[in-house]
């Protein structure tokens, strides 16, 4: 299985690797959301913008964000992420997800808590972003250029 992402140009002119996933709303419908692929992030972090469209309650118990710019309010939200692969297969990831309450993230972040289930290819030179699961693999080979 293969999920195709892309290198999306942000407002600052930088192209960054993203994937689109879906998040379960309170009414059980799915919300489309872009996720910045971040192999340096231990966990997935939902943006405050996404939270505004979920209609789900949050809990601040046990989570905080702090940084050079000061403390950032954060919360947990219990929901489900749906990754829909090319060809129709799906993977769901359920649980408590961190969500930034302050205005710090342009889009949500997909961290290693989810990425580690898959093989990730983020190749700017070839403009490729791929998330591979069962049935797909990759091969590295020497080529004459």
């Amino acid at each position: 299985m293969q999920l195709t992402g892309e290198w999306l140009t942000f407002i600052d002119g930088e192209a960054r690797p993203i994937l689109t996933a879906e998040i379960r709303r309170a009414d059980r419908s799915w919300q489309k959301a872009m996720f910045l692929i971040d192999t340096g992030a231990d966990e997935t972090l939902l943006s405050s913008g996404v939270l505004g469209d979920l209609g789900l309650p949050t809990s601040t118990r046990g989570i905080s964000l702090s940084g050079a710019g000061g403390a950032i309010r954060a919360a947990n939200v219990s929901t489900e992420l749906r990754l829909r692969f090319d060809g129709g297969e799906e993977k769901h990831v359920a649980g408590n997800f961190a969500v930034a309450l302050d205005d710090v993230l342009e889009i949500s972040i997909l961290g290693r808590d989810i990425l580690s289930f898959f093989t990730l290819i983020a190749d700017k030179r070839r403009e490729s972003v791929l998330l591979l699961g069962e049935g797909h693999d990759y091969r590295v080979q020497a080529v004459d250029e």
């Binding site: 989570i63 905080s64 889009i107 989810i114």
Partner: protein, 108 residues
């Protein structure tokens, strides 16, 4: 640097076996693709909305100071568009530097 601190390691349960690629899913995909294409073609329009949330729906931009307000505007104009999405437009240009330790850093 912003660091996420949680009392326990993050553990995720990956659930397989779904294959519910319905007509509704495909219709939402198509609406989302149109909205995303519009967004990419009008990226320059975001500069006028720094510090705001923008919601793209019906291949139009709706902006407000809060996410809920932007979504409400989009819903009132395009209630049928379930392929909408929302992004925050940062007030200032910033560099993304991501930490290795549970979370991310966002330097201005």
């Amino acid at each position: 640097m912003h660091k996420v601190i949680s009392p326990s390691p993050v553990r995720r349960l990956l659930i397989s076996g779904f294959e519910s690629d319905t007509d509704a899913d495909r219709a939402r995909d198509a609406r989302y693709a149109r909205n995303l294409a519009w967004y990419k073609a009008h990226l320059d329009a975001l500069h006028a909305h720094r510090g705001e949330y923008v919601c793209i729906a019906g291949e139009e931009l709706f902006h407000a100071r809060t996410a809920r307000e932007a979504i409400a505007l989009a819903q009132s104009a395009h209630r049928e568009d379930d392929g909408r999405f929302i992004v925050y437009v940062p007030q200032h240009r910033s560099r993304y530097i991501h930490a290795v330790d549970r979370g991310m850093a966002h330097f201005h």
